[in-house]
């Protein structure tokens, strides 16, 4: 039997009003979506605690995507600005840890940008396939 190609696990945090809609649109538009994706829906990107991101890595994610509405479009006024401030700390921390920076990504995606969402996930997946499994992945998790 041929060895099955390794499929990375990508966790995407999506806000209910924009990027989750973007993911939905991507699905409805039948854009090719890699099976690597695991979506976690939150009401707003402002709800994404950096702790969730680290926990995703420690549980076995090969990459984590932080997504939300475009700046200015957050349905809770400024949740995505808060997410952005936290993201900068996260990004610096990932760098200092020595984890490959590509494993953490931020993107603002509206509900109508299905193609953008699909391309984003595909690009990250391709990059992570090159990098291989995350060094933080626990033993015994694929």
């Amino acid at each position: 039997m041929a060895e099955k190609e390794w499929e990375p696990k990508i966790v995407a945090f999506c806000c209910n009003w924009c990027s989750y809609g973007g993911a939905d649109t991507a699905g409805m538009g039948r854009f090719q979506q890699p099976s690597s994706l695991r979506i976690i829906r939150v009401m707003c990107s402002g709800r994404i605690d950096p702790m969730h991101v680290f926990n995703a890595f420690l549980e076995g994610a090969d990459a984590v995507l932080v997504t939300g509405c475009h700046l200015g479009d957050c349905h809770y006024v400024n949740g995505n600005y808060k997410a952005e401030v936290r993201y900068q700390f996260l990004e610096e921390m990932v760098k200092q840890l020595g984890l490959e920076p590509e494993r953490l990504q931020l993107n603002w995606i509206s509900a109508s940008e299905g193609e953008k969402f699909a391309n984003f996930v595909r690009d990250v997946t391709a990059k992570i396939k090159e990098l291989g499994p995350s060094p933080l992945k626990p033993e015994g998790v694929n």
Binding site: L58, Y81, F89, Q96, G98, P135, G140
Partner: protein, 383 residues
């Protein structure tokens, strides 16, 4: 009446307090007067057990305050958390003061109720290592030590039998003794965010050793000092230009030395080795939580986000407890060294935390514990 911005030389009027004090007893007298005159309900003092051990207590007994003078260089405890929720006055090294300011930003200390008499600080020593150093380098039995002093870059110990031995601090630090590592690169030596900033730098001539250089940093500092002067507890006079410039010079020299240490301690670990380094270091962690408990800038209670992940049973590659803390402290860690001091398995916690905090704070041109107007960053700075 003194004014904000005044730089003064002063001392306790009571000769016993003056001679027991590290450099004139002004700090002790100011704290005692604040209590005596009702400015505060208690004073944080260090209750001495021996040369290497003291416990912070809050007392409402003026006599007890008056007898608490003297600097304990081998007691690197941090006092910031002792003032939470109380109306007290406290002495404080820059790291104590900065801890209090960070607590105030998180609304756990009410600064209008807290008076801080800051002490300049060139560094403190770990008590256990100090005893080891006495045996190995000084060839003195730690139990025989009756006093210790720093003079001209030398650390001097006096024994029961009247003997004195001195060794240069540089030499001690080469051998891994002397000041704690975090103190060597600590970047605040004069506690300008306290109400008064006191020390012996700049005290010269006949006053050397028996007067304190004191800068009035704000209105509360003015009130503290005015109260002590009116009560007859202290006498002050303006410091002359020479004193002022010596204090500045010593401070700059110390900061420069600190920067050199910083370079040495934080040599870059190559990108590809870093993750392994952190994983290996934290692999020894027994999740005791002591490093969080003592951290003077953390204001979370016993049930907090990081401690939720105290588990030796997870199969995580790296401690989630530490990942949460590394992030939470990257904006606010003041490098006080407490976490490394208490770690039972000798993880260099402070050095690791500073590796994350140094760039985060530098990128934001931010120094925690200095300026009340800048909020903690993770509370989110929105333009």
């Amino acid at each position: 009446m003194v004014e904000v911005g005044d730089r003064l030389l002063g001392y306790a009027t009571d000769p016993n307090v003056r001679s027991k004090g590290a450099s004139g007893g002004l700090v002790t007298a100011v704290l005692a007067a604040a209590l005596e005159k009702g400015l505060v309900e208690g004073v944080v003092i260090l209750k001495r057990i021996d040369e290497y051990e003291a416990v912070p207590v809050i007392t409402d007994d003026v006599q007890e305050v008056l007898s608490s003078g003297g600097s304990m260089h081998a007691v690197p405890v941090n006092l910031a958390k002792y003032v939470v929720g109380k109306k007290v006055a406290m002495p404080g090294k820059p790291c104590d003061v900065r801890g209090v300011i960070e607590q105030a930003k998180r609304n756990s200390v009410d600064l209008s109720n807290t008076y801080i008499v800051g002490l300049n600080c060139g560094g403190s020593m770990h008590p256990v290592l100090t005893k080891e150093m006495l045996i190995k380098m000084y060839e003195i039995d730690p139990e025989d030590v009756v006093g210790e002093e720093i003079e001209k870059g030398k650390l001097i110990f006096k024994t029961k039998s009247g003997e004195e031995k001195s060794i240069s601090i540089d030499k001690l630090e080469e051998e891994g003794y002397g000041r704690r590592e975090s103190c060597r690169y600590c970047d605040v030596k004069i506690p300008v965010s306290a109400d008064l900033a006191c020390g012996n730098w700049g005290v010269i001539g006949e006053l050397a050793g028996n007067a304190t250089f004191c800068e009035v940093m704000n209105e509360k500092g003015k009130l503290l000092l005015d109260t002590a002067i009116e009560a007859g507890y202290v006498e002050v006079r303006p410091a002359d230009e020479k004193s002022i410039s010596i204090r500045e010079k010593v401070n700059s020299a110390m900061l420069k030395l600190g920067d050199e240490w910083k370079e040495k301690v934080f040599d870059e670990i190559p990108d590809k080795d870093r993750l392994k380094y952190y994983i290996d270091q934290f692999a020894d962690c027994i999740d005791c939580g002591a490093c969080k408990e003592v951290c003077p800038v953390c204001s979370c209670g016993p049930d907090s986000k990081c401690t939720m992940f105290h588990s030796l049973a997870d199969n995580y590659k790296m401690s989630m407890y530490h990942m949460v803390r590394l992030l939470h402290l990257s904006d606010s860690c003041i490098g006080c060294g407490q976490c490394a001091d208490v770690c039972p398995v000798d993880i260099p916690v402070t050095t690791i935390f500073r590796r994350f905090a140094n760039p985060a704070q530098k990128n934001r041109n931010y120094m925690p514990g200095m300026d009340l107007k800048r909020p903690p960053f993770l509370e989110v700075m929105l333009k």
